[in-house]
């Protein structure tokens, strides 16, 4: 009897201790969880400095921790190479990057949750800066969670004067206040295969190809010619989407009513026509089929691509032996060097990342210095482009490169920076709306069924509305 009670007691203590052990380990694991954030290299240096010389830094009222929310490590790289490494970070401040990958809206969900808890969060846990993309920029820009880059952060008109206008329009709220700033400009061009252009048009000279493709009617005519020679004009349905959606006459939503712009319907009709006549390969963006159309075996005339797409994605896809397998990015490997760029029928942009300062931050001075260095400083911007081929958001720096002997071996010796520099000032993004991301995705998804011949146009439009209203219950048809 007593034995059993003893046994019971022993079991109890055992369970209790094991639970206590759990409690013990919880504290360290908690802290690691809270900072999936990777503290940057500046962190150890900063804390060291803080312990050594606290008195000399006493006049600064800034918080000790600067939290930056983002979805990949691209900006972290820029920050480290051009801000932290040159020693621009004030002593005593630790910068945390809280990275949530973009899939399934996960980044926005994480950011929203953090912003909604901004008031109650401890000073060092608050969001200080966050990164956004163009398609949903207005969601944050029109909210009270982002700060005015001039009034609050303290950038001047002179600082921002060299930035391309469209990069400012995208992050300007309904009352005309600019709430974000970016180091990239991402004008789009039409990248074509030189050998196919020669076969179809008899020339691969960018100026002459541009003359043949300068509006949509000419573009269609070339598509027909290309088909006659056994080539496809475009790869998939959505390749040309952005050139149409960036040139709409009005935003997606008027009040609460969804308005399908005529230009989008032009995309629908053109793409249906191309699909039925076999001018495209029925692929979708980022699919393996789409990527292989850009490779040596591809029979596709060209692709609409912006700055990063040409230098990274297209270049990577064009190689016969990928760089990961020991191939070199040089002429002779796949169709490297067989590409060229021209403006194409309409101006557009694709991609880009904007920096916003979050309301409630206690690091305004550092944010000001980060934004100024990484998005306004001409010397830094030029250096980024020279080092990484990324096209940066500074007209003076870019024009300087455009007029230099800068050339790309991948594009057969063409100076594509010159074309980017010509195209970027013409981009007009005054017609964006906070609903762009969701509505563009729903529209492309619904129309794919129409292009595939599963449904007629009316049904596809109905499906679009159904999907749109599911995403945005506040809108009307």
């Amino acid at each position: 009897m007593k034995k059993r009670i003893w046994a019971g007691l022993l079991t109890f203590t055992m369970v209790a201790t094991s639970l206590a052990a759990c409690g013990g380990t919880q504290t360290p694991s908690d802290t690691t969880a809270a900072t999936t954030a990777a503290p940057t290299t500046a962190a150890p240096k900063a804390t060291e400095a803080a312990t050594e010389a606290p008195e000399t830094e006493a006049e600064s009222t800034e918080g000790k921790v600067l939290n930056i929310y983002c979805w990949n490590d691209e900006f972290q790289g820029r920050y480290e190479d051009y801000f932290a490494t040159p020693g621009l970070l004030p002593d005593g401040i630790t910068v945390n990057f809280i990275i949530t990958p973009n899939e399934n809206n996960a980044y926005q969900n994480a950011l929203d949750e953090a912003l909604l808890n901004q008031d109650s969060a401890a000073q060092d846990d608050k969001v200080d800066m966050f990164l956004i993309e163009a398609d949903y920029a207005l969601k944050y820009v029109n909210s009270e969670y982002s700060l005015d880059v001039k009034g609050d952060v303290g950038l001047t008109d002179a600082d921002l004067s060299q930035q391309y206008q469209y990069t400012k329009d995208i992050v300007t709220d309904s009352s005309g206040v600019q709430k974000g700033t970016t180091w990239q400009a991402t004008p789009g061009l039409f990248a074509y295969r030189r050998s196919i252009a020669k076969a179809v048009l008899g020339t691969d000279d960018p100026t002459e190809v541009q003359n043949a493709l300068s509006d949509w009617d000419k573009f269609d005519a070339v598509a027909e010619q290309a088909a006659g020679k056994g080539y496809k004009m475009l790869s998939g349905y959505d390749d040309s989407y952005r050139t149409f959606s960036n040139n709409v006459a009005a935003p997606w939503v008027d009040g609460t009513k969804i308005v399908i712009d005529d230009n989008l319907m032009k995309w629908v009709d053109q793409t249906k026509d191309y699909t039925d006549k076999g001018y495209n390969n029925k692929t979708s963006l980022w699919a393996p089929e789409w990527a292989s159309d850009q490779g040596p075996e591809g029979k596709v005339f060209g692709f609409f691509y912006s700055t990063w797409g040409i230098n990274f994605t297209l270049l990577g896809n064009s190689l016969e032996i990928p760089e990961a397998d020991g191939g070199k990015a040089e002429v002779g490997n796949g169709c490297f060097g067989d590409w060229a760029v021209c403006e194409g029928p309409q101006n557009y942009f694709w991609g880009g990342t904007w920096l916003c300062a979050a309301a409630g931050t206690d690091n305004i001075e550092t944010i000001n210095s980060i934004m100024k260095t990484l998005t306004c400083d001409q010397a830094t911007m030029k250096k980024i482009t020279e080092d990484t081929q990324d096209y940066t958001n500074n007209q003076a720096a870019m024009n300087e490169l455009a007029n230099s002997d800068f050339k790309s071996d991948f594009l057969g010796g063409q100076n594509h920076i010159a074309l980017f520099a010509e195209a970027a000032p013409n981009i007009d993004m005054s017609n964006c709306s906070p609903y762009d991301q969701g509505l563009n995705e729903s529209f492309q998804g619904a129309m794919a069924d129409y292009f595939n011949g599963v449904v007629d146009k009316e049904t596809a439009l109905e499906t679009f509305y159904t999907s749109a209203l599911e995403k945005y219950p506040e809108l009307t048809k």
Binding site: K282, A448, V454, E470
Partner: protein, 310 residues
């Protein structure tokens, strides 16, 4: 010997019957916190307009039955039909093949060898996560995927068949995946049922000259009816909640033309705007449907032994 010890224990002053309740307590506490409370708040949410518009919260405003009205006004019937179709094209081959395999594996006259090996192999697909299984099929059956390449090289197709752009291509793949994932599980359940039947019945039938088909029809099927019903209803409830396979295969869009959009995928769509009201109303409807089906399984399971005279 055993009885006196037991009595003695009671006299000793430790009341063991009370411990039973203590040990049940963790279950009831976790059930209450993690199942019951969310269940009730789901019903409650169904009557409110409550969603996020960007970063602004709309509601909660009480709207009565408006959420239910708009759900019935939407394509609810279409998604219900999709769900049932997707379940049936997976379940019908699944139950047929499983029955056949279960009968073969347990047949004393066939004496199949290596049944243990086959039982393990057919159960394998169930061990793979549905999400990775869908990814695998997505790659296999893509426009330039291995399946299309094989079919073209061997002259079966002239040009790639775009499985995921065709209604029945997509539905067929989803059915095939559900079939592959679940037929092993069902086979093992049915084998257990058949092995529970008195072997004398089969032997008597054989001596009387019954053919295999007759044994199957008049002895096997009636004897395993309760398990068969159990398999049917659990699979039906699983089918109603079908989500991961079509979600991953169609990238959450239920393409083409939402013909592979299941009820739970429809529910998941409301996550985009964190629409608690609509999602709550839809969940409530699903709860009612699943409840009714569970009631049916309960009735038939309780009722059947008497009818079969077992």
């Amino acid at each position: 010997m055993a009885r006196p010890v037991k009595k003695k224990a009671h006299k000793g002053g430790v009341n063991y019957s009370r411990w039973g309740y203590f040990f049940l307590l963790p279950f009831f506490i976790t059930y209450f916190i993690f199942s019951f409370v969310p269940l009730v708040t789901t019903f409650y949410n169904a009557f409110f307009e409550n969603y996020m518009s960007g970063l602004t919260k709309i509601g909660p405003n009480f709207v009565g039955f408006d959420n239910f009205k708009s759900i019935f006004g939407s394509d609810l019937l279409k998604y219900t039909r999709n769900t049932v179709i997707l379940w049936l094209i997976g379940f019908i081959p699944q139950i047929l093949i499983s029955l056949l395999l279960a009968v073969w594996f347990t047949d004393t006259r066939l004496r199949l060898k290596y049944t243990g090996f086959f039982k393990t192999v057919i159960y394998m697909p169930n061990l793979i996560m549905a999400a990775s299984f869908s990814m695998l099929f997505f790659a296999l059956f893509s426009d330039n995927g291995p399946v299309n390449l094989f079919m073209i090289e061997n002259g079966f197709f002239k040009e790639p068949f775009r499985f995921l752009a065709e209604i029945w291509g997509t539905r067929g793949l989803i059915g095939l995946m559900n079939f592959l994932m679940w037929f092993g599980n069902t086979t093992i359940l049915l084998m257990a049922a058949i092995m529970g039947v008195d072997i004398n019945l089969f032997e008597a039938a054989q001596i009387d000259g019954a053919r295999s088909s007759q044994i199957f029809k008049y002895i096997t099927i009636p004897s395993i009816k309760p398990i068969l019903i159990y398999v049917l209803i659990t699979s039906m409830i699983g089918g109603l909640q079908m989500f991961d396979v079509p979600q991953i295969l169609t990238n959450g869009k239920g393409t083409p033309d939402r013909t592979s959009m299941t009820l739970i995928m429809f529910l998941n769509n409301h996550l985009f705007s964190k629409n608690y009201g609509m999602a709550g109303a839809l969940s409530t409807l699903l709860f009612i449907i699943t409840g009714i089906l569970s009631l049916i399984v309960f009735k038939s399971l309780v009722g059947s032994p008497d009818k079969d005279g077992r």
